[in-house]
Subunit: 253 residues, 2 copies
């Protein structure tokens, strides 16, 4: 496992370098489901680059990834979950504020995860029996603080419609931040720049944060308190476990 | 003027260093007008540090600054406009994502401005007859692009209430970003990571961006199309001049 964890950290940095090189070329943008759901040739090529490396080293393993319908079931064997570029809109418009994410599961049990904020060169990684580090520095577990001294990361749609009462909860904090990427937002939760993150996201968006976060006292839950399904896009919260009851007092179903 | 501009750039970097040193000590937070309107001893001490340096070098000049009611009228003589920490909530909670800002006016005419994103060490500066640079690299003027390929920075309150139709306008873009600071948001407008920024802000929040932005094709306007008054907190937009008419088609009074 130690070997695979080191391999994953090297892989994700290589993927970041791959993306940076591709950014100097013309990027081809395609709209997926709707106007703000973009994919680029770089998303696809980075995913191919990562899958090829994984299967070269671990030919028996399986892949669940964002692009091109690569969807091995999470509970079946050794599964790598890949998001080649999380925050594609930021990647296209800002050339900044996007992440590469990798998570590794064995028979549905999360082993380790890595989130790499490429342009700021911040690599957060950790897992079962693996220290959580940010660029080699150990990351502290969540320390409780009052809600009125916290910031919350949120998807703009949930915030605008007060879905599940998120806007009501946020009104009791110091405010909302909207960064446009699950990876960079969840990284900021784990460095305690945000207390929690609410969004409407896919398995490859939450897989790494779920594993890393577990070591630090965080969890991913749907708004009705369930574990996410690793199959569909779901509205979820990523938050400190010890604040869950407190949050539920403000959130409605 | 060249001397003053160089002095200002050195001053703002020194202020950033001063803040970083103070961050290692206990920070005392005080609530100003409301729960999310914070001030710290570091805001106040940084302002005092900056004012002392300015008046030591330029004893005839005047100051308009955020803290402690230092409010020389903008049109009277040589006036330095100072925001010692813009994004105080981010400073307190995130220890990141805040800026120091300085702007210099002569009889109401903006001469130069500097915005320093302290933790990311990004210094944007420029003015009349002074190139606009980001860490010594020249910054390109605004290049027009379609609204549906743009991101907009916005204060969360304006976005939530669709005040002036901002949320309607944003619905025609790739989305909103909420960063929690005018300085870092307006810097991102000028590096074209955002197309525009809408917020409810004070003179020291927009003074530097107004002067720097003018060199690159941007302006600050209230939602009824006026120049800001440099006296009160106003709801304003910071946007490319060439997009103003286009924006007004989406915005209502």
């Amino acid at each position: 496992m130690e070997d695979k964890f080191l391999f994953a950290q090297q892989l994700i940095r290589e993927a970041g370098q791959f993306i940076k090189e591709k950014m100097t070329e013309q990027v081809a943008v395609t709209i997926k489901s709707q106007n703000d759901d973009l994919v680029t040739n770089v998303d696809q090529e980075t995913q191919e680059f990562m899958i090829a490396k994984i299967l070269h080293h671990y030919p028996e393993d399986h892949i669940l990834a964002e692009e091109d319908g690569v969807r091995h079931p999470i509970k079946d064997g050794n599964v790598w979950v890949i998001d080649p570029i999380d925050g594609t809109v930021n990647f296209v418009v800002q050339k900044n504020q996007f992440a590469v994410m990798v998570a590794y599961f064995e028979d549905g049990v999360g082993q380790f995860g890595c989130i790499y904020d490429v342009m700021n060169d911040l690599l957060l990684s950790g897992g079962v029996n693996q220290k959580v580090t940010l660029n080699q520095q150990e990351v502290a577990p969540y320390q409780s603080k009052p809600l009125d001294r916290a910031l919350i990361g949120c998807n703009s749609g949930l915030f605008l419609t007060n879905e599940f009462g998120v806007t009501h909860l946020i009104s009791h904090t110091l405010g909302v931040r909207v960064y446009g990427g699950a990876g960079i937002s969840m990284l900021k939760v784990m460095t305690q720049e945000l207390m929690a993150y609410f969004s409407h996201i896919q398995p490859w968006d939450y897989a790494a944060a779920m594993i890393i976060g577990k070591q630090l006292g965080y969890l991913v839950r749907t708004f009705d308190g369930q574990e996410p399904d690793f199959k569909t896009r779901q509205k979820v919260m990523f938050l400190p476990e010890c604040e869950l009851k407190h949050f539920e007092n403000y959130l409605s179903e």
